[in-house]
Subunit: 520 residues, 2 copies
Amino acid sequence: MSLTRRIFVQRIAQLGGYSAAYSTMQVLGLLPAVGQSTLPKLGADFGKGKKVVILGGGIAGLVAAYELRKAGFTCTVLEARHRPGGRSWSVRAGSTVEFTDGTVQYCDWQDGGYLNAGPARIPSHHTYLLDYCQELGVPLEVEVNVSRSALMQADVLNAGKPVEQRQVLHDTRGYLAELLSKAVSAHALDAELSADDQAKMLNFLNGFGDLNGGKYEGTTRAGFVVPRGAGPAKQVLHQPLKLSELLAADLSKGEFYEEAIDWQVTMFQPIGGMDRIPYGFAKSLGEIVKYDCPVTEITTGEKSVTVAYTKAGTPQTLTADFCVCTMPISVLAKTKNNFSAETQAAFTGMPMTALYKVAWEAPRFWEKDYRIYGGISFLKNTVDLVWYPTDKLFSKIGVIVAGFNSERDDVTGKPTAFGALPTTQAKLDASKAAVEVLHPGHSASLTKPIYINWTKIPYSLGCYANNHLASSDVPYAQLDKPQGRTLFAGDYLSHLVGWQEGAALSAHHAIERIALQMKG
Amino acid sequence: MSLTRRIFVQRIAQLGGYSAAYSTMQVLGLLPAVGQSTLPKLGADFGKGKKVVILGGGIAGLVAAYELRKAGFTCTVLEARHRPGGRSWSVRAGSTVEFTDGTVQYCDWQDGGYLNAGPARIPSHHTYLLDYCQELGVPLEVEVNVSRSALMQADVLNAGKPVEQRQVLHDTRGYLAELLSKAVSAHALDAELSADDQAKMLNFLNGFGDLNGGKYEGTTRAGFVVPRGAGPAKQVLHQPLKLSELLAADLSKGEFYEEAIDWQVTMFQPIGGMDRIPYGFAKSLGEIVKYDCPVTEITTGEKSVTVAYTKAGTPQTLTADFCVCTMPISVLAKTKNNFSAETQAAFTGMPMTALYKVAWEAPRFWEKDYRIYGGISFLKNTVDLVWYPTDKLFSKIGVIVAGFNSERDDVTGKPTAFGALPTTQAKLDASKAAVEVLHPGHSASLTKPIYINWTKIPYSLGCYANNHLASSDVPYAQLDKPQGRTLFAGDYLSHLVGWQEGAALSAHHAIERIALQMKG
């Protein structure tokens, strides 16, 4: 940034604060469009003598405590579990997975293998979370979200035989380019494109689809049947997949997956598991975080908040000047409180997503035999994706996720095909079946399954509150309002719901509102 | 693979050898289409008592020695330089870069920063090279070849202001989808698509371009002007870039770059620099590799080959049963030999590409201020790309490549705009200018430039022999023929020219032909 620009932005910052300066910098094009934080700049004494009780030691609660402590507040985090992180949870050797129905699974995977049961990726534009990782000394590595060697499969495509993702993507591109070329050449788009733009478009499409004079005849981009070699060896391209089969297969989930803003490269993961982040916060916060302290009642008022909870089964209370409540709404709906009727209604006003994951330990046949290093394969089975681990690539054994989706439709409330399966065994069988379709013969090598069903995880009772629905607007706005000295926070009160970055930004927003209340 | 299939393939292997089994497995769809190796399975005594002299200690020469030793041959590698690797060369603190014109550059970058002057990436389907890394214990990390946060810039686009790659890609997709939707809806493609396929296509295009009822009105995939936040914060999407500007800008190089088969995700790099691979081979080969031994004459015959060379300036000769000659054709053209006239002609029959790279040490402003972690930005300047390092992400200082392209057109032999610049200083200025266009104010922080011009690197005299040209077919076929007991090898004698995998496959092919000669 030039000196004059820098001075200009500094002046804005003096007049309007960080947030105004930030917006100005964005308008000037000086910053990438990363998360929008409203964390106020507060002096180290700002919160002196003020107590804040934070309910829930997930990312929102931990960030709130971490930032409030910086501003001089005295913080206590009450966490129901005996670990920090909430959904930022890595299941590994020694972990137990307990469901509300009493089912217990024990994990004894080898070689440090883990499953990130909740969030498993950090996009490079989730900059607050990335910065916290740097501040806390949590080492990150690149997470491979896409591999062109991963597979796609549908019964109506290629006689049901799986194909490499590069074939589906590039054959599709080829056909789209050829069709659009034809339409342009046939003057069907004269009303849309000038003659000059038509010429440029035809040229562009030749590159886009790797066309041969407007015709798609296959491309090296889609890979080889007989690969390239040395000397006289001749490579043979794949025959293009049939367009009508590609359309009928509708592999769009896999084709567009990597393009969603939060799944675009570059992505990261903490080395050793996502829970390295909450453990990093917890280490920094030390005694501030109280474990095994489920909340039983919240009584909010104009000047203070009193929280009843148990510690090792013994009832306790804690009164503070402010409460940042990051408990899931599904849990809040079942917790005694004195919130308004509108707030009570809001707790059940957004559906909790019923996400699940199934993971297995296995020898890395996907690397050894298929040369798939990370990324996700997609199919049209009951279990519709298989996600390969990025950690410890080239090692012997890994944890493969065969199934990550929802058990229930958020709008209709009806179970999905997977959710409708009657038993855990049936779900594990569906998971194995997906691997078998993609990697014939290899499902037999899957062992030590772990099945996560967020709806049945105590203190979560669902994955995240779906605030994308139109019906969520009213409860979202309601929960954004303080209830006396209680402020709600969590990813579900952000526009990055289901992401740790949303949880962090929501914590910032809660602090902004505490500061506003204090400034009166 | 199922047991019956496995047995079937084993039977094929017994009858027809590895190569037949491999082809069979490919046809059965049991293996991904990776490099095609013709390395024969030879017993450990096969080459007993036979000497092979290998000219050049780049990847082809090292692989040849490594595999021939396994088969019992007595090998000597004569390497002109005092290091292994040839173009697999990492410049770092302590390296000197000497040009044939006498220019010398000294590198003193900090913190282990390096430039891979030659190959810098390993695609996941270059499986022989990856397997050698595993065998040699060379640790790999993911190389980030694409970042959607990297930039694109053209003067005719967005008033010349750089934009995030995600904008160019997704706005382009949006427009393509909208145009094709219109053409389909206007029945311009009735001859191409059945009514049923048209309906499916329209549905697909809505997803492909993130259309709103067939219209492209921007997409979250292209990122935000005002990013997402918590609470009431409202995000604002980018205004789509103008289609006519996108077409005029022609950023196709950047748009299609990641789709080329050898640049598709997943990609790798050795931790610490590409030369970890040749050093891994060299460590294994020990005394077999003789450094500072430039070859002065090759005399090939029906029973043996005699090579004259110097060692520390002293003339020496070495006679062997076979010679695997991996020297660049540009160097062979100037080396005394008794090859046929056709072979002599072939040495000058393929143009040597004149690739260059310019690298700088700098504080990682691209990560800190732009949140670009790896990947490549593209622009339409004399220097047309800026490549961000993947190694040591999130650290303070890094080596950024500002310029990687050719100094000369391979067909016309004419200098490119960069190649035509009269001085090294002018080239460094062009490199800086590219960074300044993308990252205003930051080119001032670039220090300690290193400029690699392969045409001027002794013992290389060019980057690789371009065998893609139609005019290369005859010299390629000629050099694939043994000259008596001399066999040529190198990436340029493979269909993966410019890649280490091609060099490895070419070494395998040389060994195949040695085995054939021995079997008579």
